[in-house]
């Protein structure tokens, strides 16, 4: 059995007494070293979940446990040492006036000695391939570059889990791909958990597990393959399915029997190959 890292137990949350519940009775677990994608329509509560995970918000009901510690006002600073978070807007999370200042910010807050900071800055900028931009100011960076710096800043405090809340939404496809590649490399190398909140299906299929949110409830929790098998239901809750899954569906409609639910081109071609040789 894998080790639990994050646990939501019957969590309910609303932004105010008079406001409607944004999350209702949400429970799930995320394991060590696992990559989980959270998807759902606009307003389904994804960002709220992310903020609950590192104590930017506290639930009115239920409890949240991170690495064995319940998130409360007392434990929040310990929790934040383990949970790194990258938000959607590259501009609104760049605190420093230059790249190195921004990467240093989190370490300065935690009292990391200067020599150690300099060393880690170099290390994490290498990891996101931005080592040539040490002294660059944010308004001279592209959105994708700023997001890399945001990721580097978070890595510098050596978190156990990395949460990306639509961190690639404002980037072009190439920028997205590069960031996701960087992040998955880092995840494998450092053995941390990765939680990506996204509308991008290419990102979702790479995850090990998917949590599907709908109107503040956990609608499904399964592997991408299992989730994308429910095409019509997904469309009903405002989501989409990858091209490959749609094509596979259409092929089945044409009486071409695919035995598995393919998720990428290779798998689909493999299925077709088997079929072809049997025809």
């Amino acid at each position: 059995m894998r080790e639990k890292f994050i646990e939501f137990r019957n969590v309910s949350f609303r932004y105010g007494e008079e406001q409607p519940w944004v999350l209702e009775n949400v429970s799930f677990e995320i394991y060590k070293d696992e990559w989980v994608a959270i998807i759902g329509h606009n307003g389904s509560g994804k960002s709220t979940i992310a903020k609950l995970m590192n104590g930017l918000l506290y639930p009115q009901q239920g409890e949240i446990i991170i690495n064995g510690i319940q998130v409360t006002a007392e434990t929040v600073w310990d929790v934040r040492k383990q949970v790194g978070m990258v938000f959607q807007n590259p501009d609104n999370q760049f605190v420093g006036t230059t790249v190195q200042d921004d990467v240093a910010f989190g370490m300065e807050n935690r009292g990391v000695p200067r020599e150690e900071m300099v060393r880690r800055i170099e290390e994490v900028l290498k990891a996101v391939r931005m080592e040539d931009y040490l002294l660059t100011e944010p308004h001279r960076l592209s959105g994708g570059q700023k997001q890399r710096i945001a990721i580097a800043s978070v890595l510098a405090i050596k978190p156990q889990v990395l949460i990306l809340d639509e961190a690639t939404a404002m980037l072009d496809p190439r920028g997205r791909k590069e960031i996701m590649q960087t992040v998955s490399e880092i995840q494998e190398r450092n053995e941390i958990s990765l939680i990506t909140i996204t509308h991008d299906l290419q990102e979702v299929v790479q995850a090990e597990r998917v949590i599907v949110m709908n109107k503040g409830h956990v609608w499904d929790e399964a592997t991408p393959r299992e989730v994308f098998a429910k095409k019509d239901e997904l469309r009903e809750i405002g989501l989409d399915v990858p091209f490959v899954a749609i094509l596979a569906d259409e092929l089945k409609r044409n009486n071409m029997r695919l035995s598995n639910e393919p998720l990428n081109h290779e798998e689909l071609l493999e299925e077709l190959w088997t079929l072809h040789s049997k025809m």
Binding site: K81, F87, Q93, D101, A104, N109, P113, E137
Partner: protein, 266 residues
């Protein structure tokens, strides 16, 4: 809008002036501002002007660019000059234009005051042109360090300043974007009666405030997520160190000051 933006905008470079310790730059400029008022003859003015011009050349920032950045100030300088011409009545009458007598003393004084004014602006803008805002903030934080003892929130102030500095370009971009969006919806910011033009600002200001608040909220959240809980127990990446080149420059400047006091007339 561009020329306005350029005043004081940092121009990256690696010149001696760029590399000077910001505290040293601020000190020298502070002294320069005082010393300018002691110049009172051709020799002393020449020394200061030479200093300013040489410093400008050392920065390797194109002169054209610096002068263009000073455009809004030119008006003031010319205005000061003309004012002196009209008001001062010393020395001999040089010419008479439209019933105004222009005196020689007025010309000299007008030139001197305008030059003084120009030198002040030039030197202070060299500070912001060659020093990143964050260096200036660091320098101020360091120079105000003593005030921490009387519970003056030096760290918070410096952080606030550096964040505002960090967001100036972002907000300018935002302003540009919103005014373009509203211009596309038929708003005319440039022509029409004053009343209409003031009204046209509302569709610009409201979104700007909304977005500034949103940014502030998100930024505060991002800072908190990255463990910020005030100045207590923080370490710092940026450290200022006086180098020997800083001292040499200071000595050089002091020599100029001495030269000035030797050449000025008493």
């Amino acid at each position: 809008m561009n020329s306005m933006m350029i005043i004081g905008q940092y121009v990256p470079g690696n010149s001696l002036v760029h590399r000077l310790d910001p505290r040293m730059k601020i000190t020298i400029i502070f002294l320069f501002v005082i010393v300018v008022f002691f110049a009172n003859n051709l020799a002393s003015y020449s020394i200061l002007t030479a200093f300013a011009i040489i410093t400008t050349f050392i920065t390797r920032i194109p002169l054209r660019f610096i002068l263009k950045g000073l455009t809004p100030i030119w008006f003031l300088i010319v205005f000061t000059f003309v004012l002196h011409l009209i008001v001062t009545k010393e020395g001999t009458v040089l010419v008479e234009i439209l019933g105004f007598k222009i005196y020689s003393g007025a010309l000299i004084q007008g030139l001197a005051i305008s030059l003084r004014f120009f030198l002040l602006i030039l030197i202070t803008s060299l500070l912001t042109l060659t020093t990143t805002p964050i260096e200036i903030t660091d320098a101020i934080e360091d120079m105000l360090h003593g005030l921490k003892k009387i519970k003056f929130p030096v760290h918070e102030l410096a952080l606030m300043m550096s964040i505002s500095l960090r967001f100036i370009p972002t907000l300018l971009q935002e302003t540009d974007k919103i005014s373009k969006a509203q211009a596309s919806r038929g708003v005319d910011f440039r022509t029409g009666p004053i009343k209409e033009r003031i009204k046209a600002i509302v569709p610009l200001l409201v979104p700007l405030f909304v977005s500034a608040f949103k940014r502030a909220e998100e930024l505060a959240m991002a800072m908190e997520a990255r463990g910020y809980q005030g100045g207590e127990g923080r370490t710092k990446l940026r450290q200022l160190k006086i180098k020997s080149s800083d001292l040499i420059v200071l000595l050089f400047f002091l020599a100029i000051v001495v030269g000035l006091f030797l050449t000025r007339s008493y």
